[in-house]
Amino acid sequence: MNEAMIEARGLSKSFEIGGGFLKAPRHLHAVDAVDLTVARGETFAIVGESGCGKSTLARLLMRLHEPSDGSVRVAGHEIARISGQELRALRRDVQFIFQDPFSSLNPRLTVARLVGEPLEAHRPELDSAARRAEVARLLAQVGLRPEHMDRYPHEFSGGQRQRIGIARALASGPKLLIGDEPVSALDVSVQAQVVNLLADLRDELGLTLVVIAHDLAVIRQMSDRVAVMYLGRIVESGPTDAIFTRPRHPYTRALLAAIPGPEGGGQGASLTGETPSPMDPPSGCHFRTRCPHAAEICAGSRPPTETSDSGTSIACFRWREIAEGGDDMPPPPARSAGAERRFHLYRQALAAKDKTDKNQQEGQQP
C-alpha cells in the first residue's frame, strides 16, 4: 500500500515577535505555505540553513506547534483540530527524536523511567514488571544493555544518550519517526553509529522517517527523498539521487557547491551575502537577494513549483534557463589505492571483532 504517511498542504506557521502592551508584534513567517508528501516507509529529509524553519516544520507535523494555516494529514487523519484521545493517539503514532541528546533527556529521571514514560502514557495496561521487560527490550533494540536501566542520562556518552532518546521514541510503537537533526550534535564517528542504527530500525520496523539535517552528506546517506528549504519555503524537493546529481534550484546548487573538500562542489563560496532576516524576507522569491541568476521577475511574486523530468519539484522562475547552462555535479574523486586498501582492512577487522564480541556476550547470557 503506497498511500501517503504525511500530507501537508499550505502549511504555515508565523510567530509573533516582540509585541507587548500597546505595541503591535511583528510576524515571523517561520514556515510559509509548505506542501509536502511523505510516503509510507520512505525516509524523507529536510535540509536548509540554520533558521530556515526546518524544526518548526517538523514540530508542525506532530502538533507540537499549532499551525497558523494549512492542513496536515497523518496516515489519512487531519491533525489540525484534534485533542484529547485523538491527540494522544497521534502522539503514539508519531514520535520525535531531538537534536541535542544532552538537553532533551530529563537529567533527574533514570533510563527506565525515561523509556518507561511513553509506555505508561500509551500502554497503561502494562504492569510495572511488564513495563520493565518492555524497556529492556527497547534498550536492546537500540543497542543498549538492560543493565543500563537504572542509570541516569549523564552517565552516558552523547551517542548512547541519542540511543536512549530513540528507544524512548520507539516505546509507543510509532509508525512515523521525526528526527530533528538527530545526529548534528554528534561527532562524525558517533554520528555514523546513529545513522546506521536509524537505518536498521527503519528496515526492521518498517518505519517512516522524516529526518532534518544540515549536513548534506548525512542526508544523502539516509534519505530516499529530500526537500531543500530556504527562509520558510521549500525551494526544491525530489528523489535524493536526482537532487544530488542534478540540482536545479540555484540555492540547492549553491549549497552543494559550498560543501568543502574533494567531494564537494569544489567551487568554494559561490554565494555572497548573508541570509536575510526571516522577519522581513525579500519580496517574490526569497532567495533572489543572493541568487546569481536573479532577474526582475523574481521580485514580483512567489515562484510557482514546477516538476522536472527527473522527478524533482523546483520553485524558481528561471530554473529551465539555469539548468540549460549548468552541468551535473562533477564526478566523484577516486580514493587512492592505498587508502582504499586500508579502509577495506579496517572494515574486515571491525566485522571480525564484532563477531567475537557477540559470541562472547551470548556465551555469558544463559
Binding site: G20, F21, L22, K23
Partner: protein, 314 residues
C-alpha cells in the same frame, strides 16, 4: 526608549492598584481600632464615636477605599488621624530625608561592595577571595539595629565624633547634614554592600568566563584592561540593575535604622503609623514606597537597556 518607558508605566498601573488594595486590606487585617489607639488618655465613648464617624471608619471598607483612592488620584492622601497633618505634606517632608539616607547608603554600599566584588572575582579561590567574602557577608549578617546601637555608643557617646541621632536638612547645613547621616548610612550600606559584592562577584565571574574575555586576552591586552575595560563594563549591567532594586530593600532596612537613629524618614513614619493605626499615613507611605519601587524597577530596566547596546538599538 520613551515608548518603552511609557509602556512600562502603563503596565505598572495594575500593580499600583493591587498595592493600594493590599494596603487597604492591611487596614482590615490589623486588629485594633485606630480611634482607640489614638485616643490615648482621652477615651470618652461619645468622642470616640464622633471621631469614627468623622473619619468614615464606620463605612464599608470598599467605600473607604474608593474615597481614599479618589483623593489619591487628586493628590490628596488624606489626613493623619494622629497629627491632623495632611499625609501628602508629611510624605513630602520625609521624602528628601529617606532619599538622602538611601543615596548615602548606596554610596557606602557601592564603595565597599563593588571593588570587593571585583577583587574577589579576579582572585577567585584565593585567601583574598575568602576574606572579602566573609567581610562582605558580615555586613549582611549583623542585625542593623545592633550595629546601629553599638555605633552610637562608641562613636557618639564614647568618642563624641558624630551626632547620635537626628536629622539636619541638607539645605540647612550640608556638612552637619552629612555628618548626622553618616552612621545610619553606613549601617544600612554595610548590609547592601554584601549584596552588591556578591552580585558583582558572580557577575564578574560570569563575564570573565565569556568568550570575548578570552578574545581580549588573545589580542594581547593587559590584565588590567581586560578586567576593567572588558569585563567590568559588562559585569556592571546586572549590578546596576540590582542596585536600583536594592533601593527597595533599602527602604525596608531603613525602617529599623531610622528607628534607631531617630531619622524622620519614611521607615520611621510608617512603623509609627502602623503601631498607631494611623492608616492614612500607612497607606500613603506604602503607596509612595511602592511607586518608588516600581520607579526603581523602571530605572533598573532602563539602565539595563542603556548599558546594553543590544537592547538600546532594538
Amino acid at each position: 526608549m520613551l515608548s518603552y518607558i511609557a509602556r512600562r508605566l502603563l503596565v505598572s498601573i495594575p500593580t499600583l492598584i493591587l498595592v493600594s488594595i493590599f494596603v487597604f486590606a492591611l487596614q482590615q487585617l490589623l486588629p485594633g481600632d485606630p480611634v482607640l489607639a489614638l485616643a490615648g488618655e482621652d477615651r470618652d465613648p461619645e468622642t470616640l464615636d464622633r471621631l469614627r464617624e468623622l473619619y468614615h471608619l464606620n463605612d464599608p471598607i470598599w467605600m473607604q477605599y474608593l474615597r481614599w483612592i479618589g483623593g489619591v488620584l487628586q493628590g490628596d492622601f488624606g489626613q493623619s488621624i494622629r497629627t491632623g497633618l495632611p499625609v501628602a505634606d508629611m510624605i513630602a517632608s520625609k521624602l528628601p530625608v529617606t532619599i538622602q539616607l538611601a543615596v548615602m547608603s548606596m554610596i557606602f554600599a557601592a564603595l565597599i561592595g563593588i571593588p570587593a566584588g571585583i577583587i574577589s572575582a579576579v582572585k577567585k579561590g584565593t585567601i583574598t577571595d575568602y576574606v572579602a567574602n566573609i567581610v562582605a557577608l558580615s555586613g549582611l549578617s549583623l542585625p542593623n539595629f545592633w550595629l546601629g546601637i553599638m555605633l552610637i555608643l562608641l562613636v557618639s557617646v564614647r568618642w563624641q565624633l558624630l551626632p547620635a541621632s537626628g536629622y539636619v536638612p541638607l539645605t540647612e547645613d550640608p556638612l552637619q547634614s552629612i555628618r548626622t547621616m553618616l552612621m545610619p548610612a553606613f549601617v544600612l550600606g554595610t548590609a547592601l554592600a554584601a549584596s552588591l559584592m556578591r552580585h558583582t562577584r558572580s557577575s564578574m565571574l560570569g563575564v570573565l568566563r565569556q568568550d570575548y574575555i578570552r578574545t581580549a586576552r588573545a589580542k594581547g591586552l593587559g590584565e588590567r584592561t581586560v578586567v576593567m575595560h572588558h569585563a567590568f563594563r559588562n559585569a556592571l549591567t546586572p549590578v546596576v540593575t540590582l542596585a536600583a532594586l536594592l533601593f527597595g530593600e533599602l527602604i525596608a532596612g531603613a525602617v529599623l535604622t531610622e528607628q534607631i537613629f531617630t531619622i524622620p524618614g519614611f521607615g520611621k513614619m510608617v512603623v509609627d503609623a502602623v503601631f498607631n493605626r494611623d492608616y492614612a499615613v500607612v497607606q500613603g507611605v506604602v503607596l509612595v514606597t511602592a511607586m518608588g519601587f516600581i520607579l526603581m524597577n523602571l530605572v533598573a530596566d532602563a539602565a539595563y537597556v542603556m548599558l546594553n547596546p543590544r537592547l538600546k538599538a532594538g
